[in-house]
Amino acid sequence: MTTTELPSQQGGVLARHQAALNEGRFLIQRCGSCSRAVYFPRELCPHCGHGELAWVQPAGTGTVYAVTTVRRKPEAGGDFNVSLIDLDEGVRLMSRVEGVPSSEVRIGQRVTARVVQQGGQGVVVFDPVASEGARA
């Protein structure tokens, strides 16, 4: 995980994080004081209260922590996955695992991040790690 330059967008961390995603870059934060990883992005560290958090690019690898399949009628787009992913840096986020049917996504499964453009906005999704044989 290496420190990266600030996304060019002005304003708060929500806008900066989104601007990076819109450019295809997924960034998390690391506290300049306690060094812990922080996600979702904040203006202060939720662990120690420090005000300076650096943007860092995560390795992108993680593990499925919890999983559900939201059932939806086929005409509305069909069932889809919602998962919580623990990044290797030690933070958790909501996302979805793509590339396999949602019913095949398992807790503990290794996944890797990918930024997709969805409705004009960058969004982080995850794919099963290919070496573990789950890739479609």
Partner: protein
């Protein structure tokens, strides 16, 4: 904590009421609230003009206390409109006890009403408006069907970590229905079997529609007064022995461990204030928005060890005649759930303590727990209640 312990039993619930539970077509939120409020004040043997403290919250209106004050025609010297979801009306207890003890007010009305089932402003509109009014920008791109998806995620983790089964979750729904069959106020009273729950429409794996709470209309209210005054009022006083509230997160993705809720802290605080332990509790009312809630709260409140909730509820153990009576009105799963259920859990605890439970009355109830949950396992508030002999 010593000062909180001094508040133990300092206030009592003197009146309770519900109104329009189930379907109340043509009623507004305020009308349901007002009818419940009027009936609760009458139940306490008071007049609306005696009410000088107000606690209320709304799932929609952010300034809800003001229209309620206006509608009821009261001039409260104490107002608490803390809104932390469905647990709010249990979390309102401790600040109200402090206000009563300080003399800031003398009779607090806690009240809620929602026409969620019959309202024309439906789920689609609520979801759309919340994107702007209450944004969760790090979750909404993934379109979780909230609140259901959050609880489904928690259930998935509980099953993974502890081997909890869908059949054990179904036990919770079946027990709730068995209680509801003994409660004429309950909305769903037809028989429900484990297989019915397992075969019900899946909504968010592993939760089916029968693992999920009702969407009903309803109003609920209670009146809290100082203990010395409660003894002069007509109904059996139900003393507040302890109350604790805890919030650790809002979003499910920010929850540290999906199998451990802030009920661990709220319960610990409430039991410490009460000087009681789970083994001392006769009836348990838990906010069962989804079946997984009951397992989590039984564990976090200390009725069983972490991970053993599934085994604890097996074999009808929390239903009528079981080892621990839980959600004796039928709960949010089978009795009533108009957006926020917490006040109804507390009202059922009071009814059991008074012996007003009719066919569902548990014999010899002297202590009860009412536990509220809010958001997506986000807020937790626990109340320990008891009769005079527990003071």
């Amino acid at each position: 904590m010593n000062e909180l312990k001094a508040l133990r039993g300092s206030a009592a619930i003197a009146g309770v009421a519900t109104f329009g539970c189930g379907e109340a077509p043509g009623y507004s939120d305020m009308e349901l609230l007002a009818n419940a409020a009027r009936a609760a004040v009458a139940d306490a043997g008071l007049k609306m003009s005696d009410i000088d403290g107000l606690c209320t919250a709304s799932g929609g209106a952010t300034m809800w206390a003001m229209p309620v004050v206006e509608y009821l025609g009261i001039r409260p010297s104490y107002i608490d409109s803390t809104m932390i979801g469905g647990s709010s009306f249990i979390a309102h207890l401790l600040p109200a006890m402090q206000a009563l003890q300080s003399g800031q007010c003398n009779a607090v009305l806690v009240c809620y009403g929602s026409a969620q089932r019959s309202a024309t402003f439906g789920r689609r509109e609520v979801v759309a408006s919340r994107r702007f009014l209450d944004p969760q920008p790090y979750e909404s791109p993934y379109e979780p069907m909230q609140p259901l998806s959050a609880y489904a995620l928690a259930a998935s983790r509980h099953m993974h970590d502890f081997g909890t089964t869908r059949r054990q979750l179904a036990e919770v729904a079946v027990a709730a229905r068995a209680w509801a069959q003994r409660n004429p106020e309950a909305f769903m009273r037809e028989p429900l079997s484990i297989d019915d729950v397992l075969g019900a429409r899946m909504v968010c794996d592993p939760l089916t529609v029968r693992d999920s709470c009702l969407v009903t209309d309803g109003g609920g209210a209670y009146v809290l007064v100082r203990a010395d005054r409660a003894r002069d009022l007509p109904r059996t006083p139900v003393y507040v022995l302890g109350n604790g509230t805890a919030v650790w997160n809002r979003q499910i993705s920010s929850m540290h461990d999906l199998t451990v809720t802030a009920a661990r802290d709220s319960g610990r605080a409430a039991f410490a204030m009460a000087g009681l332990a789970p083994k001392d509790i006769d009836v348990v009312q838990l906010y069962d928005a989804f079946t997984i809630n009951v397992l989590l709260f039984l564990e976090d409140l200390g009725f069983c060890a972490k991970g053993e909730g599934g085994a604890f509820v097996e074999g009808g153990a929390i239903g009528p005649g079981g080892r621990l009576p839980v959600n004796t009105n039928g709960g949010g799963l089978s009795c009533v759930h108009p957006g926020m259920y917490g006040i109804f859990a507390l009202i059922e605890a009071v009814r059991q303590l008074r012996g007003d439970g009719g066919e569902r009355q548990v014999a010899g109830v002297k202590t009860a727990i009412a536990h509220g949950n809010g958001g997506t396992l986000s807020s937790q508030s626990t109340a320990v209640l008891g009769l005079a002999e527990t003071l």
